[in-house]
Each structure stands twice: as C-alpha cells, then as structure tokens.
C-alpha cells in the first residue's frame, strides 16, 4: 500500500516535471493578424512549412474584415496588446501605426533578408520621419488594362499600343454591341484605379519627377491632357457608368460581356476564380504617340511587421524572416497570383509573368505612393474630381485645378 502510494506520488511528480520541462522547451505561440480572409488556406500552408523548420514555434493566423481591420488593430495596439506579427499596409496608412512606435524597426541586423528587396518596395514600408523600415513588403500591385482574349480574337482586334488605336478598337467593339470597358465610376476609389490603368503612359515618369521636384504641378498640360483623353474614352465604359459600382463592373467583365477592365493586376486572380474559363491578357496604358514609353503604375500593398511590444520578438522575427525568403516569395506569387517584390522568385503563371514584365517599366501609382500622408489626400481629391469630371459636372481643367488646390495646401514644392 505504502509502496504503491510512493510510486504513484513519484510518477505524479515526475510527470509534473516532465510536462513543465516540455512546456519550457516547447511551444512559443505567435499570433499573426491579417485582413486577407481569402488567402487563409495559403497562409495556413506557409505556417505549416515554417513550423516544420522551426519546431519550437507555432503560429496562429487570425483575420478581420478589411474595412474594420485598421480600427481593430489600432484599438488593440493602443491598449498595449495586439498580435506578435502584423500584416500592415503601406505609405500613409503605415505611418499611423509606425509613428506611435507600435512596430519594431527592421534593419540589416535583425532582418538581413531586406537586401533581397528593391528600394521602392522598402520605401513603401519606411517611416519618413526616421527613415527606418518597419515591415517586410509582401506584394507589388500594378495598374493596367486586363482584357478578354476571346473577345479580342473573335473580333479580330489586338491589344492597342497607342491611344488612337484604343479609341478605334473601342469604337469597333461598341459597334458590335460589346461593352468595350466594364468600368464604372460609382465607387469612388475606382476612379483612381482607372486613371492608373489608362493614363500612366501619357503622364510619364518625367511628369512624376517634375511633381516631386516641384517643377510641375497638377495643372500641367500633361495631366490636363490625360484627363481630357479619359473623359473622351469614358463613352466606352459600361452603360450608365456613373451608377455602376465596383462589384457590378466586375460582374460585367467576369460574365464575358465586356472586353476590357482598367484596374489592378489583383483583379486577374479574382476574375479567374469567379470564371475559370476566362482567357485573360494584360496591356499597359496606351501611349499618346507611337515610340513613347508604355508604362504601368505600381505600388506596394503592405508588409509583415513585428509588434514592438511583443514578448516573443525573437520568434516573431524568425517568422517574418521566413516571409522574406525567395522560397516564400515564389510560393506567394504562384499561389495568390500576386507579384512578390522579393528578388529571384520563380513565376509559373503566364499572366503573372506578363505583369512582372510590364512592371519593369513603371511609374508610381502617384496619389497613393506620394500624396496619402496628409489631408486632403491626393487620392480623395483625384477620386472625387475625376468622378465629377466623368459625370460631366466639371471640365478636365477644373478637375486638375481642384486637385492641385487641395494638394498645394500642404505640399511644399507646390507653394513656391
């Protein structure tokens, strides 16, 4: 009796020791927040691969609706909590979180993989006030024109190079009762994507450089001229386009009832998911005259950051370092059909390859990249004034003047 009791107690003590010992060596659990519910399967897969290599760490992936993500994250961080690893956005949006010191600054020491990233992608995740990088960029987006290859082939037309070719082609399609562009302008931000997809080549890299240096502003003839062309081509948008919102325009394209969609490269995967039979191609914004450089507009979506208040920084850094490897970039690009900015990735998908190739000749997606830091943001101004212009309520000159007036209230180079 005594013996058994002793054995039992010994066993109990032993198991206690064992389990606590195991718990110590065992799991560090990281939480990882994201707004990409639709990418959940991919992230679970990534986490599995990471955990195989790092048996001591488990990662819990949690998502929130995109429209509430910023609010929920803000509240958690302000309360001194929040996840260990955070998917964050870029540019002005990053600053609201990075400025109060919620994110861990990354450098060559704690994140040697940063060397794998192009300069512009790191700039997107850099705080302007201290010049430090706060997140590992995850995707580059490209504004361009997506087209339905079948409709083009059936009507014997090719992707246009110049603006005149585009207008002729649109006219030809419309004559055959095919909606040339699925686009509508009822959802405000669609106006910005339309400008990026259709006008970048006419604006040009030099225009961007001149805006940055202050040599030109938004009343520049290049900008007004491009807006005039946009007004012109809007006759080929979906019927009643001022009342067509984003989902309706997507549906129109997915259903194969429109030939083109001016917007982001992120649409391609989405269109394909909804209608796998679609045969899609992409082309850059048409140029004004043959010989000009054809451009797309690019920006970086966001990045992966480490919570500065996390108690598991080492493990969190380890995970984020994994998210910065070419291996991860390759998986990301091929699974999500979104271009990872990491150098040296291998792209399988033909259309993503095409997008990557186009992105070699790019200007910035101007308002997002450079004018979303102060109010009124360039994006708000561009969206509402282009919307108003396309509704016929103001001229391109007036739209340009309004945009310029708003930005000049805070943008030093315009105040000279």
């Amino acid at each position: 009796m005594k013996l058994t009791r002793r054995i039992l107690m010994g066993a109990a003590a032993g198991s206690l020791l064992l389990s606590s010992g195991a718990a110590m060596a065992q799991q560090t659990e990281l939480t990882f927040w994201s707004w990409r519910q639709e990418d959940k399967a991919f992230y679970q897969d990534t986490i599995k691969k990471f955990q195989e290599k790092n048996p001591g760490i488990t990662v819990k992936f949690e998502t929130y609706a995109p429209e509430n993500y910023q609010t929920i994250l803000s509240t958690a961080l302000a309360a001194g909590r929040g996840p260990d690893v955070i998917q964050v956005r870029a540019y002005g949006n990053l600053e609201t979180i990075a400025t109060p010191g919620y994110l861990l600054a990354l450098d060559q020491q704690n994140m040697p993989e940063l060397a794998n990233f192009p300069e512009a992608s790191l700039a997107a995740e850099t705080l302007r006030s201290d010049g430090k990088v706060y997140a590992v960029p995850f995707a580059m987006q490209t504004q361009l024109v997506v087209y339905n290859k079948k409709i083009f082939k059936d009507n014997g037309v090719n992707p246009p190079k110049t603006w005149d070719e585009l207008m002729t082609l649109a006219q030809a399609l419309k004559a055959k009762n095919i909606t040339p562009f699925a686009n509508g302008t009822a959802t405000a931000w669609q106006n910005e994507t339309i400008v990026g997809g259709l006008l970048s080549s006419m604006l040009g890299k030099q225009f961007e450089a001149d805006i940055v240096s202050g040599k030109a502003n938004f009343t520049d003839p290049r900008f007004v001229g491009a807006l005039t062309k946009l007004k012109d081509v809007s006759q080929y948008f979906s019927p009643n386009f001022t009342g067509v919102d984003y989902p309706s325009s997507q549906q129109l394209f997915v259903a194969g009832r429109a030939a083109m969609f001016a917007g982001g490269s992120y649409e391609v995967a989405n269109f394909k998911n909804q209608n796998p039979t679609l045969d899609l191609g992409v082309f850059p914004a048409p140029v004004l005259k043959a010989g000009d450089q054809a451009l797309v507009a690019t920006y970086y979506d966001g990045g992966y950051a480490v919570n500065a208040k996390s108690e598991k920084k080492d493990a969190a850094l380890k995970f984020v370092r994994y998210l910065a490897t070419p291996e991860y970039g390759t998986a990301f690009t091929n699974a999500l059909k979104n271009l990872s900015p990491i150098k040296g990735i291998k792209i399988e998908d033909a259309i993503t390859q095409e997008v990557a190739k186009l992105a070699e000749n790019a200007m910035s997606y101007l308002m997002l990249v450079r004018f979303r830091y102060q109010e009124p943001s360039g994006s708000v101004l561009l969206q509402s004034n282009v919307q108003k212009m396309l509704a016929g309520q103001q001229t391109p000159e007036q739209a340009a003047a309004e945009i310029n007036k708003g930005i000049a209230t805070y943008y030093k180079p315009f105040q000279k």
Binding site: G101, A186, A188, N240, G243, S377, S379
Partner: protein, 310 residues
C-alpha cells in the same frame, strides 16, 4: 403634538432598491457615459496616428468648423443632413400620418396592411440598403427595368451615380424602411381620440380635410412630439443607409455626404484614401452631440406646448 415623521425605509428595502438600480447605473456609466466623456476629452488633444499627442485646446473644434480643409466638407454634409431631415419629415412622418388615417378608417384588409406596413421596419438596415442598391442598379435594377417596360426610357437614370438623384434615392429608401414606425405611432394616437369628438365633427358637416386638419392633427400632437424629435435625432445621426448604398465617400463626389460618414472617415480613416485623426473625429462627434442635445430639447419643449389635454 404629533410630528409626522417620514418612516425611514428599512435596510432590506434599501438593499433591494440598490440591487435594482446599481447594475444599470454601472452599465450606463461604463458603456455610455465614459465613452462620451472620453471622446470629449480626446477632442482636446493632437493625435499622431493612434498615439495621443499634446493638449491643443480648441484647435480641433476650430479646424472642424472653420478649417480650410475640414469645414467645407463638414458644412456640405450638414446641409445634406438638414435636407434629409426636411424631406423625411414630409415623406416619412407625413406619409406615416396619412397611412395611419387610412388604416384608422379600417378599409378592406386593414389588419393585413397594418402588419405589412410595419414589416420593413423589422428588416435589418443593411439588408434594406443592399436591396435598394440592387433595385436602383442602372442596368439590371427593377426601377429602370420597370421604366423601360413602360416606355419611359427617358426617365431611367443611374440613380445612385447621378448627383441630382443620389441623395433623394437614399431618402426614399430610408422612408420606405421606416415609414411603418410613424404609421403605427399615429395610428395608436388616433385610436386614443374619443370617437364622440369625430362623430360630433361629422354631424357638424366637416369635410375630410377639415376633420384631419382641425380635429385629428391637433389631437395626435403627443405622437407628433415624439416622432419629430426621434426623426430629428435620426436625421443628424444618419449613417447606415448612406454607408451601405453609396459608401464612406458620400459618392458621387460628396453629393450624398452626411455628418455620420464624415465622422467615420475622419476618425477611422477611409481604407482607400484618407488618414485617421481621432482628435478631429472626436471634436466633430462632440459638436454633433451638443447640437442634437440642444436642438432636440428645444424642439421637444416647443412641440409639448402645442399638445392638448383631453
């Protein structure tokens, strides 16, 4: 001489009262009073993203009311709120009054209609918003389809994309959603009127219009008080229908912008365009709150005065 002394309530009773009163007070202070006061406090600080910066006094308020960037947006939205208030007062409350009169007279099938008119009120605002957004879709919505089939092609419009019709469309959707509420309240008010009064008026030979104007309308004044006050508060807090149907930007180009949307964009940022500013958002919310409290109280006092006891 006997001094009547008020009996002190027993301890047991005091405990019972406390048991009933304390939980709601704690709940209210925690979830209503505290947030209001803290929003009020936030409004006096500068905000760096989410971090509270230095105390700036009335700067945020000044910016909201007179700043070059904020003020035009705020006043534009305020005017739309006023417009919505007036329009809803006529369509929603006026319509409710007439519907109530119709139901009061108990026409054929009034029991069914009494329920039917209230059904939309029960639906979620999100559902109503999406429903009307579909109805008003310019290319496949039933509104335009109906116009086409009636040969009225020229009347078909991109309702929510046209700056001359978008706000009106939101107001109509809202009225459709809520008209059952004033109908029910007015109907109850009418049923409280002693039938002799109406009978007497009829014997004196009043026509329908005189009866409504001189007898029914003044006698349902208490209903009017509550309905007008609620609508006033609702119109200035208007958010859900515009948010669902035209988005945070008050699309197209700010022509449907209302203070609720401006507040949300300012405080929490607009995913695709703007920046979070808790200070300015809180200042706007505080001003809106004060405005509603002051004017709603004045409105209530004024409406009370015209109520008749019977």
């Amino acid at each position: 001489m006997i001094v009547s002394r008020k009996q002190a309530p027993s301890l047991k009773r005091q405990m019972w009262v406390a048991f009933l009163v304390v939980p709601p007070i704690v709940f209210m202070s925690l979830f209503v009073v505290y947030p209001i006061l803290s929003a009020f406090a936030y409004a006096f600080y500068d905000w760096q993203g989410l971090a509270r910066g230095e105390y700036v006094g009335l700067k945020n308020f000044k910016e909201v009311l007179f700043g070059a960037t904020m003020a035009p947006v705020v006043w534009n939205a305020f005017l739309h709120n006023v417009y919505a208030l007036v329009a809803l007062m006529i369509i929603q409350n006026g319509g409710g009054f007439l519907l109530a009169w119709l139901l009061y007279k108990e026409p054929f099938g009034f029991r069914f209609h009494r329920i039917a008119v209230f059904v939309p009120v029960v639906l979620s605002t999100i559902i109503v918003g999406f429903l009307w957004k579909l109805f008003l879709n310019p290319n496949f919505g039933i509104v335009n389809q109906a116009l086409y089939s009636l040969g009225l092609d020229s009347l078909a419009k991109p309702w929510l994309g046209d700056s001359s019709t978008a706000l009106g469309a939101l107001i109509l959707a809202n009225a459709w959603h809520f008209v059952g509420f004033p109908t029910l309240v007015y109907l109850a008010g009418m049923q409280r009127i002693p039938p002799e009064i109406i009978e007497a008026a009829r014997l004196d030979g009043t026509n329908e219009w005189q009866l409504l104007k001189n007898i029914v309308w003044p006698l349902v004044a208490p209903s009017t008080t509550i309905l007008f006050t609620l609508l006033f508060i609702g119109a200035f807090n208007w958010f859900e229908i515009p948010y669902v149907m035209v988005g945070l930007d008050g699309s197209p180009f700010g022509t449907t912008d209302v203070l609720g949307l401006v507040f949300y964009r300012t405080a929490f940022g607009n995913q695709s365009a703007s920046i979070q500013n808790f200070g300015m958002g809180s200042a706007l919310a505080t001003l809106l709150f004060l405005f509603i409290v002051v004017f709603a109280s004045m409105l209530t006092l004024w409406l009370r005065r015209r109520e008749i006891q019977f």
